[in-house]
Structure formats: structure tokens, C-alpha cells
Amino acid sequence: MDLDQEQLLDAYRCMRTIRMFEDRLHDEFATGQIPGFVHLYAGEEASAAGVIRHLHADETDTVASTHRGHGHSIAVGCDVKAMMKEIYGRKGGLCNAKGGSMHIADVSIGMLGANGIVGGGTSLSCGAALTAKVKKTGGVAVSFFGDGAFNQGMTLEAMNFARVYDLPVLFVLEDNGYAESTASSWSIGGGDPVQRAAGFGIRGEKVDGRDFFAVTHAAGEAIKAIRDGGGPRFIHIDFLRYYGHFEGDATTYRPKNEVRDERKYLDPLNLFRARVLQGEILSEDALNRIDDEVASLIDEAVDEAREAPAPDLSTLTTDVYVSY
């Protein structure tokens, strides 16, 4: 294990923040106070936390996310309270309440946005990588996309484009078993994403998404290779999402007990805890303290979001253009 204590605590905090953010949103959504579509990332924490920790905190490294973007946003370092306000549609939201859950972004720290269009982020990452290449920033662009997005032409085009220009892009396939109600084992022709990436000349690897250590190891290796000028890489991360496709999805397409068993035996946070406690690398106290801190943060975030006013009506027509 090549992470020091602080790094481990950071990683755990990241995953716990995501989990609590999502679990809480699940409950809050049920109260009817949150507008629009909400897609939760619970169960997939090790991907965001394991990959994004290798990126620099400034804007030279970037992340392009998906409709299921809360986890990536938190891992990049978006303001959790402003995110919550955004999702509630309130003043002070990270995107001034114009974007909502599906469009959370903070370009100033390299978070290029959640995306309402499946596959829409992959070419944006090529652009960010082009910036890094032209400006010689040494930056890496990480593109997260789902198993459904892997069958979208835009994604495939972007992979080829990144290859022919040796762009510094890490393509991360988050295969959570389903695209809406459709199984990834059916939708991905050939059934071997790593081979598909190889068809574009991109080296890839499959990792168990429940295992933070496996993810961060694979991502670290890939990102290092990219920074060394090797061009794009690919990671196929495999896990299951815990909630429905969106809040409100009855998920009858899933085998009975699929999630129950997954949560019970394969929860990435539990596996992380077990691993670090077993090796006596971190203390249970330290982990519990993080749990408490995160719980307070999320409580505050929800309270503040609920109390925040709606955005000013005058903002309806602003921000369409820089000038017009």
C-alpha cells in the first residue's frame, strides 16, 4: 500500500462524503422538495475517490462527468454546500440554481460539469487535453462515462480522436451493471470493454470497483503513463449502483436481493475500513470521527439549502452570453 495515513483519511473522507450526500438526497428526494431528475452515485464511491485523488487541485487537470455526477464533483473538490443548494434549486447554488443535479460544474477547479447527455463529456475531455497539450501544462483530462455511454458513438469517436493525437485523456468506464434498466452485459457488444479500447489502440485494464485500492492503483499507473506522454488510457471499473437509475425508479428489472447482497458483502466503504483496520493502518476512532464530521457537514448543507431563498427572477435571462 503506497498511501500514507493522511492520504488514506482523505480518501475515506471523500467516499464517506459521497455516500452520505447520496443517502441523504435519497431521503430528501422522497419528501418531494427536490425538483427534476436526481441520479445517485452510492456504491460507486471508490471510482471517483480512487481516480480523482491522482489529479492536481488546480484547473490543469480536469474531470468531465455524467448525469450521475455528484460523486465526481465532491471528489474534485466542489463546495458541498453550494452543490446541495444547487440541487435544491436555491440561491447560492454552485451554478446559481440554473443547472441542478445534472449540470453541476466548477470549471475553476477543473470540474467540467455533470452532463445531461450520455456520452457528452468524452469529447469535452479531448478538448481539455488539447488545452493541456497546446499549453504544455502537463495536465490530464479524466472522462468518466457509464456502460450505456460506451455504446454511444460520441464516446467511441472521442477515443479514436484522443489516440491519433496522443491526447492526455484517461477514459474511465463506470460499469454499474445497467443503463437505466438495460443490463450492460447485453448492451456492450462483444462483452469485453478492454478489448474494445484496444481496437482504438488504447491500453486498458479492468478493475473491481468495490476495491478502492485496486482502483487507485490502476488509475495511478494509467495517469502516470499519460503524464509521461503515452497518450490515452482506459479503465473499466465494475460495480453496481445501489439506488435506482433515478430517484423514483422501482428497479423491478434487478434480480431480487441484488443490492441487499451487494451492500452487505461488497460495500466499498466497508471493504476500505476492513482493510485499513485489519492492517492497523488507521484507527477506528479516526474513521468514526470522519463519519461524524461528514454527517454534520451534510446536515448543515441540507439545512442551509432548505433555508436558502429561491434565486432572483432577474437571473432568468442572464448568463446566456458573455456579451450580446
Binding site: 425538483p35 427534476g36 431528475f37 444547487e86 434549486g89 436555491r90 447554488g93 451554478c95 440554481a97 440554473k98 443547472g99 441542478g100 445534472m102 449540470h103 452532463n115 445531461g116 447527455i117 450520455v118 456520452g119 450505456g148 455511454a149 455504446n151 454511444q152 458513438g153 460520441m154 445497467y178 443503463a179 437505466e180 434498466s181 438495460t182 443490463a183 450492460s184 452485459s185 447485453w186 448492451s187 456492450i188 422501482a250 428497479t251 423491478t252 428489472y253 434487478r254 434480480p255 431480487k256 441484488e258 429561491a310 434565486p311 427572477l313 437571473t315 432568468l316 435571462t317 446566456v320
Partner: protein, 336 residues
């Protein structure tokens, strides 16, 4: 008459046509649901449930769940249509035309013309549109003006469950490509819908309400808002003639002209954007052909030139409202 939802009305229309003609097939993401999964099959019936049960009834050779591959399956709909099927494909939200634009605008819309009239492309593209559910900028567009702009396509924007069923049956029987717009906020709206089959014609406006003081044209969800406005105006003694064109392409400009000849005033209510939108289009046609009958400027009630915002208060302010319609009508009838 049975009272059913918009989505049920669409479901009934598709079921009817699938029974009637075995060449009618369905394509789309999760239109059945559960493809390849270990749980229930036919688990979704489409994102808002309009195709529920059709997979169970007609089986896997008539109802095709697709990967997230819009250009492939909308293109396949076009290719299947020219070779003998009558596909009904769902582009989940119209905003996603960005990933299927080629098949829509450059293939199915152009085949017949480019091939000198020697082929036909009978397919229906169902698509969700419209603001009002908090779905924000990438799931709320009303892009029917873009489809209306392009020759070769027919564009249907139904306003009630009754209309939806009859127009959908017409769409499936039509020999040209039809883009069928379903307002996401209307999916659960209820209305009287007969059990049997019936068609509602394209290119023939529906007179929703007769009146002599001002003509109001509205389509899709705006019809119900315009009805509310008309009721309120009637209490003030202003009688609106409310027309629902039903289809944006073809457009029944004759009916509008006829009404404007009577009323001398026109207000167009449109949820699509103002620039090069449908309200502008209708305005231009009527002002060109009905200039001498107009007693006041044509007023357009539309959103402003911005995307659909997320926050509920902004979103509501974005959409035309009965109040704004009342105000617009009063402005052309002189406040009366």
C-alpha cells in the same frame, strides 16, 4: 367516455396499430425495459411508461430495446422504413436530436426528395419535450421549430389525450416521417378518450373555442394555458377564438387566416423559443397573407432567448403563463 392519461392514450394508439399491421415495430431505450437484466422484463415501458406492456403483448420481434445509440437506432428506423417496416422509434428527449441529427434531418427527411420520389419512409419518431418538470436545460427543450424548418418531416404536437391517440394513429399510418412531440409535463394529464380506433387529421386546426374579439393560436401544452386565459378574458367580455394547429408541419394557415379575418387580432402562444420559432413562423405567414385584416400587431407569447433554467421559480417564469396570455390579448384588443 373513458378518462385516461396522455400516456395511456398513446399506448392505446400504438397497441391498436401494432395489432392492425404487423409491420409496425417499436424501437427505443428501455421502451420495454430490463433487457438482459435478471429481474422483470418489460419493467419500464419507456421512460414515462407510454409503451408499457407492448413487449409482453407483441414480443421481442416487434419491440426492440436499444443500447444508448440514437444515431444507430434512429438511422435504423429510417432504413427499416424504406425497406418495408413502419418503425415507431423513441428519441427519449428532443434535446438528444444532437446525437441523431443526421438520421433525422439528412436521411429520413431527404430520401424521398433526393431519390426523385421513388421511395417512401413511413416512420414515427416519438420524443419528449417541454419545460415544467425541473429537468433543466438539457431535458426540456421544445425544438419542434427545428423540425418544422426541415422539409420532408411532419411535426405533430398534440394537446390532449384524445388528440394524442388520434394523431398517433394517423402518424403511424402516414407514409412520411413524422416527429411526434409528447410534453413530459402532460404525460399524466387525463382526458376523455374513446376506446376504439379513430384518426385525427394532420394539417387541420382544431377550433378549441369560438370567439370574435381575438384569435389565439396555441399548441401542445400551451392550449390548456390559453383555455384558462380565454375563460378569464371571457369574464371581462373578451371572446377569444382559440385554435390548436395540431401539427406544426403541415400548418393549417388557412384556418388561422380565416379566424383572423373575423377577429382582426392574433396572439400566438408558443412554448418554443422566440428566435426562428413557431410563433415567428405563424406570425410571418399571417402578416404576409392577412395583412389587411389585421387591426393590431400580432403578439407572440413565448419564453425569452435563454435556455430552460433549473430552479422552479425561474422555470415557471420562463414558460408562457395564462396571465401573460391574458395580458397579450388585452394589449391587442385595446385592454377591453
Amino acid at each position: 367516455m373513458p378518462v385516461i392519461t396522455f400516456r395511456e392514450a398513446l399506448n392505446a394508439a400504438m397497441r391498436n396499430e401494432m395489432k392492425r399491421d404487423e409491420n409496425v415495430i417499436l424501437l427505443g431505450e428501455d421502451i420495454a425495459g430490463g433487457k438482459g437484466a435478471g429481474g422483470q422484463q418489460d419493467a419500464w415501458g419507456g421512460v414515462l411508461g407510454a409503451t408499457a406492456g407492448l413487449y409482453t403483448e407483441f414480443g421481442p420481434d416487434r419491440v426492440f430495446d436499444t443500447p444508448i445509440s440514437e444515431s444507430a437506432f434512429i438511422g435504423a428506423a429510417a432504413g427499416a422504413a424504406v425497406t418495408g417496416l413502419r418503425p415507431v422509434a423513441q428519441l427519449m428527449f428532443v434535446t438528444f436530436f444532437g446525437v441523431a441529427g443526421d438520421a433525422l434531418f439528412n436521411q429520413m427527411a431527404k430520401f424521398r426528395y433526393m431519390f426523385g420520389g421513388k421511395t417512401k419512409t413511413p416512420c414515427v419518431i416519438r420524443t419528449l419535450y417541454g419545460a415544467g418538470t425541473g429537468a433543466a436545460s438539457q431535458h426540456s427543450d421544445c425544438y419542434y421549430p427545428i423540425f418544422t424548418h426541415v422539409p420532408g418531416l411532419k411535426v405533430v404536437v398534440p394537446s390532449t389525450p384524445y388528440e394524442a391517440k388520434g394523431l398517433m394513429i394517423s402518424a403511424i399510418r402516414d407514409d412520411d416521417p413524422v416527429i411526434f412531440f409528447e410534453h413530459q409535463a402532460m404525460s399524466g394529464d387525463k382526458g376523455e378518450v374513446p376506446d376504439g380506433e379513430y384518426t385525427v387529421p394532420f394539417g387541420e386546426a382544431r377550433v378549441v373555442r369560438e370567439g370574435k374579439d381575438a384569435t389565439v393560436v396555441a399548441l401542445g401544452r400551451m392550449v390548456q394555458f390559453a383555455e384558462k386565459a380565454a375563460e378569464e378574458l371571457a369574464q371581462d367580455g373578451v371572446e377569444c377564438e382559440l385554435l390548436d394547429p395540431r401539427t406544426a408541419s403541415p400548418l393549417d394557415s388557412d384556418a388561422i387566416l380565416k379566424s383572423v379575418k373575423k377577429t382582426g387580432r392574433l396572439v400566438i402562444v408558443d412554448e418554443s423559443l422566440p428566435r426562428c420559432g413557431l410563433a415567428s413562423d405563424i406570425s410571418a405567414i399571417i402578416s404576409e397573407q392577412g395583412f389587411h385584416t389585421l387591426k393590431a400587431p400580432i403578439r407572440r407569447v413565448t419564453p425569452q432567448h435563454n435556455h430552460v433554467p433549473f430552479a422552479p421559480n425561474l422555470e415557471q417564469a420562463h414558460i408562457p403563463s395564462p396571465e401573460k396570455i391574458v395580458e397579450a390579448v388585452k394589449s391587442v384588443t385595446g385592454g377591453k
